[in-house]
Amino acid sequence: MARLVQTVSGSGEPPNGAPEKAVRFVYPLVWGFARIFSVVALAVAWEALARSGTFTPFQLPALSAVLERIWSDAVSGDLWINTALTLYRALTAFAICTVGGVIIGMAMSRNAFAYWFFDPIVSVGFPMPKIAFLPVVILWLGVYDLSKITIVVIDAIFPVIAATVIAIQGVERELIWSARNMGATNRELLHQIILPAALPQILTGLQVALPLSLIVAVVAEMLMGGYGLGGAMMTASRFANSTSVFAGIVEIAVVGYALVKAMALIRRRLLIWHQESTYEFA
């Protein structure tokens, strides 16, 4: 899943029989334009719709006004503080989920007691809407970073655990037997065989957990305040400052896009030895 959605196959290729040299330059250009066309069209439609007076500026502020607001937030430094806070909360929790989820997942697939204990908790806890526990977390831990990070961990750790368990169960028996046969110790087996072989699926679990971390971090900030992109949006919405609310959406969208793309890049880098990455370049 390096790229989320792929275009219909062969779309970037020049059609057969066309004069090659000309086509080599023109075709990618046309194709590239087609790719950004709908994004540009959406932006233009937003601006036009907002200026046409169909909606009040409160319902739909113009895109230019929103971009101006983002710029002024950036100049005053608010944008960076809020983005850094949201990223700090979401990514700290994500790191905890990564380490904790993989460790619990490994324990479950290597230790019968751990499996017995965690299996029902994971199978019941995974599909639960854990965000409902947010007020409970507030009750226990207050409204500061600790409780925000905790609720994100509660929500995002389950996909990691589930993916790790499935991944390790799916490692080919022959690989493990061969390694054993060649005298690998348990530790070597884990580090050199099981973890690398399970890596693609574990990464898939992490790719589910990352956007989830951001969703929950934003909700937690909206409910508990304390700055951050979500907190800033909620404050703006309380003051009926809809330009800032829309600016918040654009900012959060950019952060989300960057994180998901970064994760896909990391995946491609980590799995460079794996056959899925050769598909990518072929």
Partner: protein, 247 residues
């Protein structure tokens, strides 16, 4: 039955531990009311109809939003796989909007549609549509070329092919996308109701918490968690039956 009991025994242990910790007052009872009190409070709320009426409001919002998302998202996804112009136009938009943390839309849906049902339905629709679209798209794209060719050579019309070949082969991935959407709909429902609402589960949790009636709050939290779990299990069962023709 016995197998079931052994498998879920750790959960029972957790429940007993909860009861004991609360009864022995290892933590304050306001932070963790005993499980038995929580159950009693839950039963009371069912009796006086508070839980049922708020639950009905929540389920209505989630149901309508999810149904719209499945319908429109599914159609969009299959259209993206089936007609190139649609693909060229929509793929960039899907790529941009898919990673958007959907909770960011909560204040905007409120600006557009106010505090009532409309804003929640819109939020759930927008949030749940893309996973369905992507599932339908990937599924429809992977329908075997041989099947498509055979159908065409046997004289099937384009629409007929869509219905008889593309849709069934898109089914597994589409159903998977809907499962993601189902989980997401609960998250969005509860968070939007916690933040702004006048009824619904999220509202109930928030207001009970603010009043300090924590045993009732815990009862609602557990109800929501259980409903999310039950919906997922029910959905899995239906899926298994729908896909029974595959093996």
């Amino acid at each position: 039955m016995k197998h079931f009991f052994i498998r879920y025994f750790p959960l029972l242990l957790l429940a007993i531990a909860w009861e004991l910790i609360a009864r022995l007052e290892l933590v304050s009872t306001s932070a963790l009311p005993p499980l038995s009190d929580v159950i009693v409070a839950g039963v009371d709320m069912i009796k006086d109809g508070e839980l049922v009426s708020n639950g009905a409001a929540s389920m209505y919002r989630a149901g309508v939003g999810l149904a719209l998302a499945i319908l429109i998202g599914g159609i969009l996804g299959i259209a993206m796989a089936w007609w190139k112009p649609v693909n060229v136009l929509l793929v960039p938009l899907v790529e941009i909007f898919y990673p958007l943390p959907k909770s960011a839309l909560i204040p905007v849906t409120v600006i557009w549609l106010g505090f009532g049902d409309g804003s929640k339905i819109l939020l759930i629709f927008l949030g749940c549509m893309l996973p369905v679209t992507i599932g339908a798209f990937n599924g429809a794209r992977s329908s075997e070329q041989v099947l498509v060719w055979s159908a065409r050579s046997m004289g099937a019309s384009r629409l007929r092919m869509l219905w008889d070949v593309v849709l069934p082969s898109a089914m597994p991935e589409l159903l998977n996308g809907i499962r993601t959407a189902l989980a997401l709909s609960f998250i969005l429902l509860v968070s939007s109701e916690l933040i702004v609402a006048q009824k619904g589960f999220g509202y109930l949790i928030g207001s009970l918490g603010a009043n300090g009636t924590y045993d009732a709050m815990y009862a609602v939290v557990l109800t929501v968690a259980f409903l999310g779990f039950a919906a997922d299990r029910l959905y899995l069962n239906i899926t298994k039956r729908t896909l029974a023709w595959r093996d």
